[in-house]
Amino acid sequence: MTKIVSKALKMGNDVDTDMIIPARYLMIMDESELASHVFEDMKPEFRKKFETNKIIVAGRNFGCGSSREHAPIALRKAGIKAIIAESYARIFYRNAINQGMIVLEAENVSNLVGDGDDIEVDLNTYEVVDLKKGIALPVREVPKFMTRILEAGGLVNYLRDHKDEW
């Protein structure tokens, strides 16, 4: 059974994709190079923190703004394993799933979870537990076909192997 256990890194509402990766880096195709600029203007310290805090816990409308898939790519490559937010901007949500990034919706999560809390995400059930507080977070169910994309590691891998299902 695969589980992700890591510390939470808290963020606020309306984290936009210009914050995650500024537009001046959109002509970069190399994923590691993109990751080196993650949150560069707003919170440059996040990049270092992502090495230990691999689960982002955020408020509403995470990933709003530009459609740049560079945003979830930069986060993934910088070490982020999962995001738990109260809601997502829809393009970011799709892009994250398509990049094999686990994105879960949980009401009130930004109040329930503290910065640095140890979080466990069970990839079989998509259950989320705050180990420090000993509470299970009620997350919105992930549709089956999206879990299939996640299990494949993203849409490129999924479609390479399952064109018949699309």
Binding site: D16, R94, N95, L155, L159, R160
Partner: protein, 420 residues
Amino acid sequence: MGQTISEKILSRASGRKGVSPGEIVKANVDILMVNDVTAPPAFEAFEQMGFKKVWDVDKVVVGLDHVVPACDIKSATLNKAVRDFVIKQGIKHFYDVGRGGICHQIMQEKGLVWPGMVLVGADSHTCTSGALGAFCVGVGQSDAAAVLGTGRLWFRVPDTFRFEVEGALKSPVMSKDLILQIIGQVGADGAVYKALEFAGPAFERMSIGERMTVANMSIEASAKTGIVEPDRKVSDYLKTRFNIQVPLVKSDKDAHFEKKWTLDASKVEPKVAVPFRVDNVKNVSEVEGTEVNQAFVGSCTNGRIEDLRMAAKIVDGRKVHERVRFIVAPASMEVYSQALSEGLLSKFIEADAIICGPSCAACPGMSNGILALGEVCISSSNRNFLSRMGHKDSKVYLASPATVAASAVKGKITDPRVFA
């Protein structure tokens, strides 16, 4: 139970009798659009997915707009990769430097979008084309690659917010002021996963270009799409110019709207979205006097002929303030050419403005019009996020082309009605 415009379009595209909000459907895409930022990774993903040929060479639109002409070797290399793919695949609708302009503008000008269509675009402002009554959604590179290979995509059927707008905007108040007011009311996350529908006499009075400004900024309330209820003006435009005749898809009288808003356009004041949030909307009077270093009229939001006419009228016979750089970027070659023939460009030049080639120009902060530390720009574009137009300690105020032009002349944020 009746259906909304989005429900009707997604029903048709998914081969269903009816669909309900929250349902996930797989739908056939009528047209796909990619630009110079999203095309290279989308084409790469397409190949990694193991596809050989695009699903339909007539249904793919490629427009170079973010960084054109190329500003460095990196962008030149990516542009070249796009051209190579277009040639190899035989893609029909390709708009290179000097042939097109901003991808969203091209969709309308080249007759590539019409009522009832499903348009998927690898750009968040794809919703702009909702001004023609189509269901238009932005996606990222992977989804674009999937459509490129299959012509299909999954969608969650959205709930709809309906905006009925009475009255008429009082010039120089523009449709930009109306949509800024709406975003201020709804909030930056107020329409997550929702479709916005715009209708009423105020919209009937607007040109298609003015409607595009409103549909364009739906994404700034995080909406999935924004659709202006199509009318005779849309069908006449398509018929006259492209000989396209299609039924106008409208919401049923008994359709379910999650929320309904009624506004009076005649009461809309000139608005400004104050950094660093698009929903931080104030009346111009509240920030009047804020000094600016740069003023920008352009972008997919406000780079159309109506916008240039308004800005030119304000600067006509005047000079841009000596401290201000006034950048004007027509949204397309067609707008550029029209502005030239109407004498608008010479008015800008005489006022000391600079005219950039059709492109996204200063809006995304990628190649020109970039702000230095501490600088302030008043802009007709769509985002005022931190570091959007350059340095993280620069600021962008969003406003209508009228307010931008008035502010360019005065050197500080100015209510355009002083020139009216």
